[in-house]
Subunit: 338 residues, 4 copies
C-alpha cells in the first residue's frame, strides 16, 4: 500500500502516519521523490483498509500496490531514480558506461587500463577482486590484494569503482572500496547477501540470474530496497536457453519491460550476454536503442592475455570506436553520453 | 567444397568443372557473385580431393567448407546477398520495413491499411491469408478470398506482398500473389515445404522456429538454397524460454551471429518477439542497432479490433513515429532507410 | 460443450440433437464410450446455452468444457481411449512397446531386426522410410523402397507397422502400409499434415515438438480428432532446454499431466529423449513408472553400423533384458505387458 | 591427476607421495576406498608428469583426470560413496526417503508429523527453519526457534534431521542440529557457502540449481569435496524450462547421467520438481526406476493449512501408499527400502 502526500506536508503529519502504520504491525518507508512525498507500506498489508489513512491530514491518495514487488515498482514511485554521483549521476537521461577488465590481475594491469579508460572519459571502472568461478580450481581473483589496488587506482584517477561482493565475510572490505557494490548473477537469490549489501547504504548493481524471470529480479531488488537502500541498478546479462551459438541469450526484451515496471536504472552487460568479443559492439548499441540507462563492458588492454574471460573483452581501440557510436546513438533515444 | 574461379573464366572451363563434379557423384552449384565466380559442391564431398580440381584451367582456389551448412555460408559466398526488387532491393546497406496486419480480415481492412502504409513510404505489405493457429477452433484466415484481396491491393498500390505459405496444396496459389513467400516459425523444419518454396524460385522469408538454434535455421535455409533459390531472408522472431513477461524472448544475439555466418539478409520481427505493442518500438530500434537488414512489423489501423494478435500491433501513428527514429538511427550502423 | 446421454438413447433422439447443433452453426461429434453416449460440440459454442439442450429427450447432462482443447479432454470423455488392434490393443491397462530401427536401411536389415523383435513378443515395428533431417545432405531414408520393404516385413511377421508421415504428397502411400501413422516432433504444428493424417482414419502417433507445451500438444491432437479420428497416441520425446549432457530433456512430468488432462494413450520415446544408449533402459523404466501406456524404442541389430542415430539404439540383447524388467515393473503401476 | 596405490601401502610411502605433490605446488587428497588406496591431486596439475610418480614405491597407476570436476568423478573413485549413518546408511543398494514438511511451523506441527513419519519407518526428517523466499514479504521460517524444535524432535523420535543452511551467519547453529546440511537450489553457486558447509565435515545434500547443468552441479559439489568432505548427496529438483503446466521440469535424465559420472549418491525431490501433489507419486516412482538412491518428499499432516508450499505436499495417507509401492519397486532396480 502507498500513501501519497503533499510535498510540503508537515513532518508532524508524516510521523503520525508512520506511527499508525507501525501500530498496525506494518513497516513504513519514506520514498524519495521530487514532486510528491510518498510513504510505502510493507508487511501484512492485507489487514489495512484505505479508510484507515485516507482522511488523515496531508494525505492526497491511498493506493493498493497489486504487484508482488512493492518499493521497486513504478506504482510506488513514478519518477526515475537517479543515483547521485555529482556530475557522474546514473539514471534519467544520462548514459553511463562501466568499463574495465573481468578481474584485477596485478597493480600494473589495473593502473594501465584505468588510465586508458579515464582518458576516454569513462567514469566507472569495473574489476573483480573476488571472482565467483564454477570450478574451485579456476583463478579466484587477487582478493584483498585486488581490493588494495582498486583503492589506489581510484585515488590516482578519480574513478568510481564497481566491484563484486561474493560473501558476507567481505562486506566491510568491499564496501570500503566500492562506489557501487556488484551482486553477480549466481548470487541474485542469495537473499542474505542482498540484505547485507543494502545495509551498507551503498549503491548496488544487481545482475539478473541466469534463470531468473524479470519478476524474480525485481523481487531480489526488493530485498535490497527494503533495507532502505534506494540506489539500485538492475543489470541484464543474458539468460540460459537452448542456444549454444552464444555464451548466454541477452534478453533485451527485459529492458523495456523493466523500464515500465520499475523506477530503478537498467543497465545491460553485453560482454557476458553474448560472450564473443566481435558481437559485443552491435549488442551494446542494441542495448542503448532498447532503452538501457547504461552499459557494463569488459575492456582489457590485451584481451589475449587476460586471466579470465579474455574472449569477451574488447581492446581499447575497439571500445573507443564503440563509445563514439554510442555518443551518436544516444540523442535518438533521448539520452546523452557525456 | 568450393571452387573459386576467375570472374572471366570461359564457359567451357566452368562446364568442364561441373561435369567432373557430377562424375564424382556430387552436385555443382554456380554461386552468384560480383567479384569472383564460385562453384559450390554438395553431396558426398568427403570423397573429393582438392587436387582433383586445383590444377584445372581458370581455378584460383579450392576450399573445404567445414560448416554443416554449405551454400548459405559466408565461406561459400563472402559478399552480402542482395535481393533485387528494382529500387526496393533488400540487403546490403538498404533497410526495408515489411509492415501490415497479422491477417487479411476483409477487402476494406486491407485496402485501408495498405494505403496508409504506402503513404508512409512502405514498400512491402505483410498480411496472412492462411493463418497457422495452435487451436483448430481459432480464426484460420480468409484463405483464397484473402489471396484475392492481396492481389487487388498489390495492383492498386504497387506494393510488394509478403504472405505465408502453410502447406503444399497452396504453393501455386500463394506463389502467384506473393513477392516474398513467408515460411512461419512452426514450419521451419517442414522440409518438404522448404523445398517446394525453393522450387518456386521466389524470394523466401524464413522465420526461426521457437526452439531452433541458429545452426538449425541455417540448415533449413540450406534446404531452400539447394533448390537453387538464393533469395532468402532469415527472420529472428523470438525463441521460447522460461521468461513469461513477454510472449517470446527476442534473441537479438542471433543478428550479429547470422551476419557473420551467412551472406543472406537478416530481418527481425519484434512484434512476435516481444508480443506487447508498447515494447515493440524500442525492440525495433534495438534490432536495427544490432545490425538487422530490416524489420517485419505488425501494423493495424485499429489494433483493438484486430481478429488476431491485436495486442502486438502498432497503430499507424506510433508506427510512423518509429519509422522516423529508424531513419535517424540507420546511418549510425552504416545503413539507410529510403 | 458436451451433451451426455443415456447409452441406450434412441437414434432418433441423437439425430435431433445433432440437427439442433448444426442449426446453431456448430459441429456435433459423437464420442465413443462404454458407459455413456456423449456428443461433443465444437465451433462458436459461446452462442449456445445449456438450456438449449438440457430438456431434450435422453439428455442427462450438459457440460461446458473450459479447456482450450475440447474433444481430447477428459471433460469430454472420461474413460481411457483404447485403440483396438484385436489382441494387441493400445491403452487401458495394457502396455505396448513399439520397437525397431531409426530407419529402414535395406531389405535384409529390416527383415533381420523384425524377426528378432517378433521372437521377443513385440507387436509393433517402427522404422522410418522418410526421414526428416536437419541437413539436406544427411541420409533422407529409402523412401518408396523403404515402404515396400515395410509392407513385405509386415506380412511375413504379422507385425503392426509404425512409420512416419513427412508430407502431403505421401499420405496415401504411407497410409497404405502403416498401421499407425507417426507425426514427428518437427511436424507437430504442421496443421495441414495433422488434418490429412486424421482424414485417413488410421491411428496416429503424435510426437511432442521440441518446444511444445503440453497444451500445444493437446491442441495439435485436437486438429486430428476434429477429423473424427479418435485413435491418437501422444508421445513425449524430450524437450529442448539448456542442458547439453543429454540430447534432449525427457519431460516425464508430462506423463501424469497428460494422463489427467486427456483420455488418449500416452507413450514415451526415451531413445530421442536422452539420446545415449546406456541411459535408455533406466529412462524406459522411469517412463512406465510415471504412468506411460507404452514406449517407442530404437533397437538395431548392430547399432554401430546404423545409418542414423545409432548411438541411441539398443542392441537386441540389452533390449531383451529391458523387456524383462518392464514385465516385472508393470503390475506395480496396474499394467501388464503381454 | 590420480595416483592409485596398493591398499596395504605403508604410511611412509603414502606420505612421501603427498610430500612430493606439495613440493610441486599441488594439493593431495586421500580418497576413501574399499579395494584401493588413491591419492587425488588438484591444483596446477598441468605441470605434473606421470613419470614424476609412476616409479615411486607402492604406486600401481597414475591417471590423468580429464573432466573439469575431479574428486567427485568416478575416474577418481569408482566405488559408490556410502554415507554412514549406522543402520540408516545412504547410497549403495539402500534406498532412503527424506520426508517432512516444507518448513517448521510450530512445535506441535513438527512433533505431530515427526511421529507419523517415524511410525511409517522413515529415518530422515526434513523441515526448514530458515526459508529462502523470492519475496522479502513471504514467511521466512521460524529461524532459531525452528532449529530448537528440530533439536527436540530429533531427540524425541531418534530421527536424522535434514535442514537448509541459508547463510554464513548460521553455519554453526544449523550444523549443531542438522545430520545432513541442505544447500538449496538458489545457493548452488554460492561458493562461499559451499565451502563453509564442507568445513563442518557434516553430510551435505546439494540441490541442483534451476538453470544448472549437470556439470555445474558436479563442479559445485567439488567445492564441498575439496574441503575434504566426501559425504555429499546430489539432489535433482527440476530445472526451469518453457513448460508452465508444472512448477519445474524434473530432469530425470540427470539421474543416470550423474550415476555414471560420479560416485556420490543421487536423490530426487519430486515435490519441487513437479509442484502439484497428485503428480508426485508417479514421479517419485519414476525417480526410483531411473536409478535414484533416494527421495526427498514434502509430507504435511494437513497440506491445506501449510504455511508454505502446501499444494506440493502429500498427506500421510497418500505418502504411506507411495512408500508401499516404492518397496515393491526397489528390487526391480536392485535396491531395497528397509
Amino acid at each position: 500500500m502507498l500513501i501519497v502526500m503533499d510535498l510540503n506536508a508537515p513532518r508532524e503529519d508524516i510521523e503520525k502516519i508512520k506511527l499508525k502504520i507501525k501500530q498496525l504491525n506494518c513497516t513504513p518507508h519514506e520514498i524519495p521523490g521530487a514532486s510528491k512525498l510518498a510513504i510505502g507500506i510493507t508487511g501484512p498489508t492485507h489487514n489495512l483498509k484505505q479508510e484507515d489513512f485516507s482522511l488523515m491530514p496531508s494525505v492526497e491518495d491511498v493506493v493498493r500496490v497489486t504487484k508482488k514487488y512493492k518499493l521497486v515498482s513504478r506504482m510506488m514511485k513514478s519518477e526515475d531514480t537517479i543515483i547521485d554521483f555529482g556530475n557522474k549521476s546514473i539514471g534519467g537521461n544520462r548514459l553511463q558506461i562501466i568499463a574495465g577488465p573481468c578481474s584485477v590481475e596485478s597493480r600494473d594491469q589495473i593502473f594501465e587500463i584505468a588510465e586508458i579508460l579515464k582518458n576516454m572519459g569513462i567514469n566507472f571502472l569495473r574489476a573483480g577482486a573476488y571472482k565467483p568461478r564454477s570450478s574451485p580450481y579456476s583463478f579466484q581473483g587477487l582478493k584483498e590484494e585486488g581490493l588494495k589496488y582498486l583503492e589506489e587506482v581510484k585515488k590516482e584517477f578519480d574513478l568510481k569503482i564497481v566491484t563484486e561482493l561474493l560473501n558476507q565475510h567481505t562486506v566491510d572490505a568491499v564496501a570500503a572500496v566500492a562506489d557501487i557494490i556488484q551482486i553477480g548473477a549466481r548470487n541474485m537469490q542469495n537473499f542474505t547477501l542482498l540484505e547485507e549489501a543494502g545495509k551498507t547504504q551503498k549503491p548496488v548493481l544487481l545482475k539478473r540470474g541466469m534463470s531468473a524471470t524479470v519478476e524474480d529480479l525485481l523481487l531480489s531488488a526488493e530485498y535490497i530496497i527494503s533495507q532502505n537502500d534506494y540506489n539500485i541498478i538492475l543489470c541484464e546479462r543474458g539468460i540460459r536457453t537452448f542456444e549454444t551459438a552464444t555464451r548466454n541469450t541477452l534478453d533485451l526484451n527485459a529492458v523495456p519491460v523493466l523500464k515500465k515496471e520499475t523506477h530503478l536504472p537498467v543497465f545491460v552487460d553485453p560482454s557476458h550476454g553474448v560472450g564473443i568479443w566481435d558481437k559485443i559492439p552491435p549488442m551494446a548499441l542494441a542495448s542503448i536503442a532498447a532503452g538501457a540507462d547504461g552499459l557494463m563492458i569488459e575492456v582489457h588492454q590485451r584481451p589475449g592475455e587476460a586471466l579470465s574471460d579474455g574472449y569477451q573483452a574488447l581492446d581499447p581501440k575497439r571500445f573507443k570506436s564503440l563509445l563514439e557510436k554510442i555518443k551518436e546513438l544516444a540523442p535518438i533515444v533521448g539520452k546523452e553520453l557525456v
